[in-house]
Subunit: 190 residues, 2 copies
Amino acid sequence: MYPNFIQHLKNHISLTEDDIKVLSTYVKIKSIKKKEFLLKEGQICKGNYFVETGLLRMFYINEKGTEQITQFALENWWLSDYMSLMMQAPSKFYLQTVEDSEIAVIEHQEQEELFKKLPQLERYFRIMMQRAYAASQMRVKYFHDFSKEENYRQFVSLFPKFIQRIPQYMLASYLGITPEYLSELRKKHP
Amino acid sequence: MYPNFIQHLKNHISLTEDDIKVLSTYVKIKSIKKKEFLLKEGQICKGNYFVETGLLRMFYINEKGTEQITQFALENWWLSDYMSLMMQAPSKFYLQTVEDSEIAVIEHQEQEELFKKLPQLERYFRIMMQRAYAASQMRVKYFHDFSKEENYRQFVSLFPKFIQRIPQYMLASYLGITPEYLSELRKKHP
DNA sequence: TAAAAAACTTAAGCTGGTTTAAGAAATAAT
DNA sequence: ATTATTTCTTAAACCAGCTTAAGTTTTTTA
């Protein structure tokens, strides 16, 4: 059952065979084609999503009608609109696959029940949320600290394989620049 | 013992009198004068900090030698450099009181022991970290979405009391603008 | 394999926000 | 109360990154 998912849990908490059976009744895996949506603006976010294989992006549409990507999620990352999930309020975001993906889903409705049966999951998600928040704290720093050009160069040198999986305009959007300006930067520094 | 702190825990998990006694042996409260540091760049972050009363700020110093504030923490918020705390690696941030403050501290060394004695705390911190991360997701959106001027106006209208507790240059730093430009915005839109 | 659609590039003009430098006002210390 | 320090303001020159508009290349679809 979903090798990455189970291994990822086992890296942080201990699970018996029985625990895994319980998990498998609560955690559904979905195979999702490229460019399908898990969430659209205005909908209430219903699940927490783990990328078993593939790639997710989170974005919103600004006043000018252009997509602004706020996050990507690669293999072994959780992603959701946690504000919408917690408050059960309409989301301002879209969640969409960038590639054909296998996504493990914990439905919000069933989460409390699952956590009661497997209380270790509270610890697991405490660690996941702390890790995500820590990454976010660092990202705020880089965002403020570096110019767009420096940000671009850093991203390319840190994630050379990742940038080959996404179109340029998505990288531009994530970096908060126009595709035109990214094109200029690439010419200047190939 | 620290009314805000205990009440805050009780809002999310149940605690017996005995639990509270255990807590009081692990959670120290510190009275800290304005402008003292809980963490400086280069140090390894040693604790998770809860603001009982007062105000904390987190900032770093950029290449130009100017302070860039990344976060504030008011009453009933937790704050730490979670990357430094998790990895026990040198921090790139400073944590400093903005006002005289009472801060409840969970030392990193003792955290695992405390969590073993009070496993409900895993749930409590899972919720706290999820909440912080959710706020951070929204902040990334606002940061991208609004111009500096719109960001300033929104901040003022959302937190009118808060801005009276901090000097203008700290607001400018948090918003990612120069004090000169903030001054211009204030003149334009008092 | 041809046509349509999506993604990327080029270049000129423009703007939101910075820099620099000086002075004014408020707060803290003696 | 006076001085020193910190905070805030003003204004002009400047620049990183955007906009607009057109053209080119790559990918997808029929």
